[in-house]
């Protein structure tokens, strides 16, 4: 039930966005999101509704967190 995929917004019309996933397109409702959405934004979409706007820069934060725990690698 958690299936939600990051998609890129290619158009916004009212509370519906057209989103792109690897060249295929789908619709996502935006009324479940507390912020406005622009073309080019990344969204997390579940069952046709956007549940989160993603910041591509956060991916770097993820890698930083990985690095942090893995620096403990092998330590007792």
């Amino acid at each position: 039930m958690c299936l939600a995929v990051p998609v890129r917004v290619v158009a916004v019309e009212g509370n519906v966005a057209t989103v792109d996933v690897g060249g295929s397109q789908a619709k996502a409702r935006l009324d479940t999101l507390g912020e406005s959405v622009q073309v080019g934004d990344y969204l997390l979409v579940h069952a046709g509704f956007a549940i989160q706007r993603l910041d591509p820069a956060d991916a770097e934060e993820t890698l930083r967190l990985f690095q942090e725990i893995l620096s403990l690698e092998g330590s007792p």
Binding site: M1, C2, L3, A4, P6, V7, R8, K27, R29, D31, T32, L33, G34, E35, Y42, L44, H46, A47, G48, F49, I51, Q52, L54, D55, P56, D58, A59, E61, T62, L65, F66, I69, L70, L72, E73, G74, S75
Partner: protein, 362 residues
């Protein structure tokens, strides 16, 4: 999103493997997740092969289709048999009620349709104004905002909802209240957490002294989440940690929470295989009675749960048994001939283990 695909990087994965393998494990460590999509990522990418022998990852009640009660299904069947168009998600149609499945009802003439979204069900209602269209709404906090959104968006008069949405934190509390408790840590579902926020688990971690780590769905997200749990266990900590900060905040998606608070109230719910869990179900508020299928059609589910003889789904759902511990698994119970709920839904533990060969010795 390009970054996401690097979250399958085998070099990082190998480093996580070494980290996980360095965990000193004398006693069995049971980590439970409650999300079918976590289980699918784990199975699809062979992540169990990264874990030390003594660390077991189990799927608890993470498949909303599987835990939907016979009662709720009986209601859906009754509604479907009254000349309505019944819309629901994919494999919900294959879950047995006390008499039959929705798929079987369709074969007997009921109009049962599969939708991918609550919005599609509303669309169906708009296109068929002469017929009542009922959305059988299942799913956790991830899905409930969508149902709430369409109800707040002035749906047509012929649109009704049969609500069977459930909440995750009360289910975790139920699992942790078991005595003796065997669960060492929880991998909390990423997208439920996107909506409810990592903070929602803090009271649980504190009350039950258990590590809870919110994790995403890419292979490295899960390896990271498992690593954080093992580190907490090693250090004797029991906290909530967020291993999925790119999609989960402390307070969650406030707009989505606002939506479901406005539309639903919380009450007890019956989980198939588990029984009643207090405060774990969403119910439509009085203001939405005009769209309440239960009121409109006066349907009531049959009370009482029948457990198929020999089936150990209840223990699988409570993370007390692996699918392979069940005598029916693979022998009489398969995805084509499911006996228990965990084999029925595509996100049920038994179903996923059958399709991806759960923990093969490779």
């Amino acid at each position: 999103m390009k970054e996401i695909f690097s979250l399958r990087d085998p070099v990082w994965a190998e480093r996580f493997r070494r980290f996980l393998q360095s965990f000193p494990s004398e006693n069995l460590v049971k980590i439970v997740h409650v999300c079918g999509t976590h289980e699918i990522t784990i199975a699809q990418h062979g992540l169990r092969s990264f874990l030390p022998e003594k660390v077991e990852v189990l799927e608890g009640p993470g498949c909303p289709v599987c835990v939907t009660s016979t009662q709720d299904l009986d209601c859906a069947l009754q509604v479907a048999e009254r000349g309505t168009i019944l819309c629901t998600f994919g494999d919900m149609t294959r879950v047995p009620g006390s008499r039959m499945t929705l798929e079987e009802a369709r074969a007997e003439g009921a109009d049962v349709r599969v939708v991918l979204s609550a919005a599609d069900a509303v669309e169906t209602a708009r296109r068929n104004p002469e017929k009542p269209v009922v959305f059988f709404a299942v799913g956790f906090e991830t899905t409930a905002p969508g149902t709430a959104a369409v109800l707040l968006d002035t749906p047509p008069d012929n649109f009704f909802v049969l609500v069977s949405h459930k909440l995750i934190p009360p289910a975790l509390a139920a699992l942790l209240s078991e005595d003796p408790r065997e669960i060492s840590g929880f991998l909390a579902p990423g997208h439920v957490s996107t909506v409810i926020g990592a903070g929602a688990y803090r009271p649980l971690a504190e009350e039950f002294r258990v590590p809870i780590v919110v994790a995403g769905f890419e292979p490295l997200d899960i390896l990271f989440g498992l690593s954080l749990i093992l580190r907490q266990l090693r250090e004797g900590r029991a906290e909530v940690e967020n291993a999925y900060p790119r999609a989960v905040t402390e307070e969650g998606n406030l707009r989505a929470q606002e939506l479901f608070r406005e539309v639903f109230r919380v009450g007890p719910a019956i989980w198939r295989g588990i029984g009643e869990i207090p405060n774990s179900g969403f119910y439509l508020r009085e203001e939405f009675r005009d769209h309440d299928a239960q009121k409109e059609f006066g349907v009531v589910g049959r009370v009482g749960e029948e457990k198929p003889p020999g089936c150990r789904c209840a223990e699988v759902l409570m993370a007390k048994a692996l699918p392979t511990d069940c005598p029916l698994y693979e022998k009489v119970c398969t995805p084509l001939t499911p006996v228990g709920p965990c084999m029925v839904g595509a996100e049920g533990a038994c179903n996923i283990w059958y399709r991806y060969s759960g923990r093969p010795r490779l």
